[in-house]
C-alpha cells in the first residue's frame, strides 16, 4: 500500500527565542518491509539541514536557527510504500521459548533490557500477576494474548497522560494513548524474555477501519522478535498486527530514543506545540493541507514540550 503523508509541526513562543537547535526523526524508514520513495523536509525560517543514520538505521535530521524566533515550522512530506504483513502461523513451537532464553549474549539483548519508559516496576509485576500474564504455549500466542488483554484493560483516552508519563501512571489510571499502551506492552514482553522495540510512525485509517487510535496523527506500536519470524509488528492500541497501513518512521528501545522532534533554545519563553498530520492513500491525489497557523493558547504550556504519540 502506498501512502502520502504530510506532517507539520509548529512551534510557537510567547517571547522570541534565540539559538534554537533541534533534531527531528520524521523520515520514514527504507528497509525490506517498507520503501520510502520520496521524502522532503522543509524548515521555516530556512536553515542548513544536516542528517545522519543512527545505529538502528533511523535517519535523523538536525539543524539550528540563529535568528530570533516566535514561530518555527517543520514540514515533512513523504511517499511510502508498505508491504503487507507476512502471514503468521497460528502459533510457534513451545521450544521457541528456549531459543529466546538463549539470547542472553545476543545483540538483541538491547531490546530485552529495561529502558527509560519500559521498566519492570512493582506495579507492572502486580498488573501481570493480577491478569495472569505469563508465558503461555509459545511466544507468538502469548504476545497475541497480551495485546488483547491490554486492548480490553487500558482505555484509549487522549489527554489522559503526558509525553513523559511513566507506565505506572498508565497502570494506575488504566487509561492512556498509543505511546503508553505500547510502553506497557514492551515492558511486559521484555519481562517475559521477548525482545521488543518501540516503533514511531503513522497509521493510515480508511473509512471502514474502526481503529481506536486517532486518525491523522502520529502513532506508536511495537515490534517483537520471534524465532523463525524475526521482527513482527503488533499494535495493541488497535489490537491488530502491524500491516500495510502501518508506516514506520523510527525504531528504538522506547519513545525516549525516537521523539519526532527534540530541541533546545535560549530565551525566556514558553513553547507551544501544534502538530498536523495527514495520512493519505497515495493513489488518490491530495492537496497539501493548509499550513496550520501558530495559535498561542490562553494557558501557557511547559517549555520544551515534545509531542506525544497518539
Amino acid at each position: 500500500m502506498k501512502h502520502h503523508i504530510f506532517h507539520d509541526t509548529i512551534f510557537s513562543y510567547d517571547n522570541p527565542v534565540r539559538e534554537s537547535i533541534m533534531e527531528v526523526r520524521l523520515q520514514p524508514r527504507d528497509d525490506e518491509r517498507q520503501r520510502c520513495h520520496h521524502f522532503n523536509l522543509t524548515v521555516t525560517p530556512r536553515t542548513m539541514l544536516y542528517a545522519f543514520r543512527d545505529a538502528l538505521d533511523n535517519t535523523v535530521h538536525h539543524f539550528n536557527i540563529t535568528v530570533p524566533l516566535t514561530s518555527l515550522l517543520v514540514r515533512a512530506e513523504s511517499t511510502v510504500e508498505v508491504l503487507p504483513c507476512p502471514v503468521l502461523p497460528p502459533q510457534l513451537p513451545t521450544e521457541s521459548w528456549q531459543t529466546l532464553d538463549a539470547l542472553q549474549n545476543d545483540p538483541l539483548l538491547d531490546m530485552l533490557l529495561p529502558s527509560q519508559f519500559a521498566q519492570p516496576t512493582a506495579l507492572l509485576r502486580e498488573f501481570m500477576q493480577q491478569h495472569q500474564i505469563v508465558r503461555r504455549h509459545d511466544p507468538l500466542s502469548t504476545v497475541n494474548h497480551i495485546s488483547t488483554l491490554l486492548f480490553d484493560t487500558i482505555t484509549y483516552t487522549p489527554q489522559s497522560t503526558s509525553v513523559d508519563s511513566p507506565i505506572d501512571v498508565v497502570l494506575t489510571q488504566q487509561k492512556g494513548v498509543c505511546q503508553d499502551i505500547t510502553h506497557v506492552m514492551i515492558a511486559i514482553c521484555r519481562t517475559l524474555g521477548i525482545p521488543s522495540r518501540y516503533v514511531s510512525g503513522y497509521l493510515y485509517h480508511r473509512r471502514d477501519d474502526h481503529d481506536r487510535s486517532q486518525s491523522d496523527a502520529t502513532h506508536a506500536w511495537l515490534e517483537i522478535w520471534l524465532p523463525e519470524l524475526g521482527w513482527i509488528g503488533i499494535d495493541p492500541t488497535n489490537r491488530i498486527w502491524a500491516g500495510e497501513r502501518h508506516i514506520r518512521i523510527a525504531i528504538g528501545r522506547d519513545y525516549a530514543d525516537v521523539p519526532p522532534t527534540r530541541g533546545v533554545y535560549r530565551g525566556n519563553a514558553n513553547e507551544h506545540l501544534d502538530v498536523v498530520v495527514s495520512v493519505n492513500d497515495a493513489n488518490i491525489h491530495t492537496q497539501a493541507p493548509p499550513l496550520a497557523r501558530p495559535i498561542w493558547p490562553t494557558t501557557p504550556a511547559i517549555a520544551q514540550q515534545s509531542q506525544q504519540q497518539q
Binding site: 534565540r18 539559538e19 539550528n64 540563529t66 535568528v67 530570533p68
Partner: protein, 319 residues
C-alpha cells in the same frame, strides 16, 4: 589569545558596579555631612535632589524622613541600587573571572566587599557614617590603582576602563540633571544656592580641583564647564568620553579590521560632542546637553553589548 565575551562582560560590569558603589557612597556622604546648617525646606529639597540623582521614586519619598532612605541606599542588600548590592555585584563579577584579574585585584575587591558587609550587617556603619563612606571610596580608589599597576593593559583592562568611564559619565549627567533647578536659578537666588553648588562639586569630587583652576568663587557656568567639558580634570564627562573612545580603539586594535567599527563610531561621536561642546552663560542648553550625554552613554553601552558580548550567531563569523 582571544577574549571570551563572557569574560569581557564580567570585567566591564565589575568595573561599572564598583564605580556605582563609590558614586553612591560619595553622594550620601556629601548630602549628609555638608549641609547641616540649612533650613528645613532647603533640606527637604536637597534630599529630593539626591533621591532623583539616585533614581529613587520621588513620589514614594514624599515627605518621608531621609534616614530610612539613606539606610535603604546604604545597607539594604535586597534593594538593587543600594551600595551594598552594588559592591556585591561587583565582587561576584570579579569572582567569575578571577583568573583574568591579578590576585591583588581580587584580594582588594574581596576585602572591600567583606568590610562593607561586616559594617552593614553589624549596623556599625551608622555610628560613624562619614568614616564608613570614606572607607568605601578609599577601597574603590585602591582597587583602581592596583588594577592599573598590576594588570596588563590588554583588552580586558580596556573593558574595565570602559566600564568605569561610562558609569562615571552617566552618573555625573544624572547628578547634574537632578540639580538643574539650582543651576539655572535666577541671579537673586544665587546667594542661597552657593552652598548647594559647592556640595554638587564635592559630589563630583571636583571641588578642590575646581578651586585650583577657578578660585573658590563658584558659578554655575564655570562649574558646568569644569565638570562637563574640562579636558584635563579626570572626573569630567569630557575626560570620560576621551577614555571611552581610547578604550574602543584599543579594544578594536586586537580584532579583525572593522569588527568594532560601530562601537568606535558611536564613542567617537560622543567624544566629539564633548570636545566641541559647551554652554553659554545662561546655561540655556544645559538640560538638552545633559540628555544628549545620557543618550550617548546608553548608545555606547548598547553598541558594546551588541557588537562584542551578545551578538547573533550568524552576524559575524571571524577566523
Amino acid at each position: 589569545m582571544a577574549m571570551l565575551s563572557r569574560v569581557a562582560d564580567s570585567l566591564y560590569w565589575m568595573s561599572r558596579y564598583l564605580e556605582r558603589t563609590e558614586h553612591t557612597a560619595r553622594l550620601l556622604d556629601v548630602t549628609q555631612h555638608q549641609l547641616i546648617d540649612v533650613d528645613i525646606t532647603a533640606s527637604q529639597q536637597r534630599w529630593h535632589r539626591l533621591w532623583q540623582a539616585l533614581h529613587y521614586n520621588e513620589a514614594m519619598a514624599g515627605s518621608r524622613e531621609p534616614a530610612p532612605i539613606v539606610e535603604l541606599f546604604t545597607a539594604d542588600s535586597h534593594y538593587p541600587d543600594s551600595l551594598v548590592a552594588s559592591i556585591t555585584a561587583a565582587r561576584e563579577n570579579a569572582r567569575q573571572v578571577r583568573e583574568h584579574i591579578s590576585s591583588e585585584m581580587w584580594e582588594q575587591i574581596n576585602r572591600l566587599y567583606l568590610d562593607i558587609r561586616q559594617q552593614v550587617q553589624g549596623h556599625h556603619w551608622k555610628q560613624a557614617t562619614h568614616r564608613f563612606y570614606g572607607m568605601v571610596k578609599a577601597g574603590s580608589h585602591l582597587f583602581q590603582g592596583i588594577t592599573d599597576a598590576t594588570m596588563i593593559h590588554d583588552e580586558g583592562w580596556n573593558f574595565i576602563q570602559m566600564g568605569r568611564a561610562l558609569e562615571r559619565a552617566n552618573n555625573t549627567a544624572s547628578l547634574l540633571h537632578s540639580h538643574l533647578g539650582i543651576l539655572q536659578s535666577a541671579s537673586d537666588e544665587q546667594g542661597v544656592h552657593h552652598a548647594e553648588w559647592v556640595a554638587l562639586l564635592k559630589m563630583c569630587s571636583a571641588f578642590e580641583a575646581y578651586c585650583k583652576v577657578h578660585t573658590p568663587e563658584v558659578t554655575p557656568p564655570r562649574m558646568i564647564q569644569f565638570v562637563v567639558y574640562d579636558a584635563v580634570f579626570p572626573r569630567s564627562i569630557r575626560f570620560c568620553a576621551d577614555s571611552i573612545h581610547a578604550a574602543t580603539i584599543a579594544i578594536d586594535a586586537k580584532h579583525t579590521r572593522g569588527h568594532g567599527q560601530r562601537v568606535q563610531r558611536v564613542a567617537g561621536k560622543f567624544q566629539a560632542m564633548l570636545e566641541y561642546g559647551g554652554v553659554d552663560d545662561q546655561l540655556a542648553t544645559l538640560a538638552h546637553n545633559i540628555v544628549q550625554v545620557q543618550a550617548g552613554c546608553s548608545q555606547i553601552g548598547a553598541a558594546l553589548h551588541e557588537v562584542h558580548i551578545d551578538y547573533a550567531v550568524d552576524s559575524t563569523l571571524s577566523n
